[in-house]
């Protein structure tokens, strides 16, 4: 549905070639995801299928198709209304805002998305390959088209891989009506008929520099630097921000407004290591920085406990912390002039988050079956909704066809 931007890291991550290994069979991986938030908020049902086929000795093509439905309600960013403020936007497509007194503001929605990613890896020589990627994602209120190009160069002993790449995307954003509200526009302007514009669009450019290394027989490490610049419409056309009096009582509502430029940088490091008992640890840390004043740290740890052949249990913990964006305000002060940019989107608030879960893998019907169950807990410093709790369930099945 609505919102900002995306950068799905397709398996663009540098893949170390091990030995003279080549994908030599068609591989199909299919997955079902169920994501559900507490308090009847967002529910996502998603089906993904990913096919990878070698073409001769030097080429591999891949196709990834995603179909998902998102239903439920999500915070608009407005404060709990003490008195009922009756607002029905002509554009949200849902049933308007729930505005009963004391109820935090939510917008209901229901959307489906279809996404397709294609990839082509061509090996030019023993130690040099190119990865080409293209993607399309379509929703009623969001369209995205992207392409990427990544070079991977290995040293002659293949223990080091250097990667460099660029990617670009063009996204079109609107409410379901195909319109976008005037940023910082008063929701009740012109007796509830505020000014609307046409679709918004944004362009993003990304670059990657990476190195991955075989440290020893049981260890692989990786270090990536990415930089991304986005320009254009980055406002969420559904999000609102309340103007309140000194007592926190809502007086007015405005559509949010975000800057037209954003520069994001990440430093990502990962380590994979097999312990003496054949268990494997996956450790990663990401440092993120952008010019909206957001800094974040992400720590991820997976421990794969191997039982008998191909049966495993993989506990997982993810810790995340971010600072608030400079444009984040839980509400607008009625004594201050309207700022140019402001958003009460909880995702731009200061966040502390923990994910705990486990995955179970087993062989089945000549392939691999995996089940994953996780619990996500997020806490927000100032946002109207101060927590988000969700359950993630994923079932996947992968098989190779020779």
């Amino acid at each position: 549905m609505k919102s900002i931007r995306n950068k799905l890291a397709i398996a663009a991550c540098t893949v170390l070639s091990q030995g003279a290994q080549q994908a030599n069979a068609t591989e199909i991986d299919t997955s079902y995801l169920f994501y559900s938030e507490a308090d009847d908020r967002v529910t996502v049902n998603k089906i993904i299928t990913k096919t990878k086929t070698p073409l001769g000795d030097n080429d591999v093509i891949s196709l990834e198709a995603v179909y998902d439905t998102v239903t439920g309600a999500t915070p608009t960013g407005a404060v709990k209304s003490v008195s009922t403020v009756s607002v029905t936007t002509p554009s949200s497509g849902g049933s308007g805002f729930k505005t009963a007194a004391g109820t935090p503001d939510l917008v209901e929605f229901n959307d489906t998305r279809v996404g397709i990613d294609v990839g082509w890896v061509h090996r030019h020589s023993r130690t040099f390959k190119m990865n080409y990627g293209a993607s399309v994602s379509l929703e009623s209120d969001y369209e995205s088209y992207g392409g990427s190009l990544i070079f991977d160069k290995e040293t002659s002993n293949r223990n080091l891989t250097f990667s460099a790449g660029i990617a670009g995307a063009y996204d079109t954003i609107s409410q379901r009506s195909g319109q976008t509200p005037k940023p910082m526009g008063d929701v009740q302007e012109n007796s509830g008929n505020p000014e609307f514009f046409g679709k918004g669009n944004k362009r993003s450019y990304e670059a990657l520099l990476g190195i991955s290394s075989i440290t020893n027989r049981r260890t692989v490490t990786q270090l990536n630097y990415t930089i991304s610049s986005t320009e254009g419409y980055m406002t969420d056309p559904y999000k609102l921000i309340s103007m309140t009096d000194s007592g926190g009582v809502e007086e007015k509502r405005y559509y949010e407004s975000r800057p037209e430029n954003r520069l994001q940088q990440t430093l990502y490091s990962a380590l994979v290591h097999q312990l003496k008992n054949k268990n494997t640890i996956h450790l990663s840390y990401r440092f993120y920085l952008d010019d909206w004043d957001i800094t974040s740290h992400t720590f991820d740890y997976k421990h794969r406990i191997k039982f008998t052949k191909n049966y495993y249990l993989e506990p997982h913990i993810r810790l995340y912390t971010q600072t608030a964006a400079d444009i984040f305000q839980s509400s607008l002060d009625n004594n201050q002039p309207l700022p140019e940019y402001a958003s009460a989107d909880y995702r731009l608030d200061e966040i502390n988050s923990v994910t705990l879960g486990t995955k179970f893998g087993m062989p089945a019907w000549g392939g691999t079956l995996r089940f994953r169950l996780e619990y996500l807990y997020q806490s927000f410093a100032e946002a109207e909704f101060n927590t988000n709790k969700a359950v993630i369930f994923q079932a996947s099945y992968k098989k190779e066809f020779n």
Binding site: K7, L8, L16, K46, R218, Q222, V272, Q274, L275, K276
Partner: protein, 66 residues
């Protein structure tokens, strides 16, 4: 846990790995992205619930996921 930590220190002992010593490294569990479809889903979830994104790679499609 302590044992794991101690053992993990072995991860930092560098050696020049010969082509025939890469058997363990070819295992699925030893790939930097051991379960790409899971990473794809996670990237999506966290992209739509947090302000930061990216790191592992570039490219892929955008979405208006909420």
């Amino acid at each position: 846990m302590l044992l794991t930590t101690l053992q993990a220190c072995a991860a930092f002992q560098t050696e020049s790995v010969k082509p025939w010593q890469k058997g363990v490294l070819t295992e699925e569990a030893m790939q930097l992205d051991a379960d790409p479809i899971e990473s794809y889903v996670d990237d999506h979830i966290y992209f739509s619930k947090e302000a930061s994104t990216g790191g592992r790679g570039i490219g892929g499609g955008g979405c208006g996921c909420n």
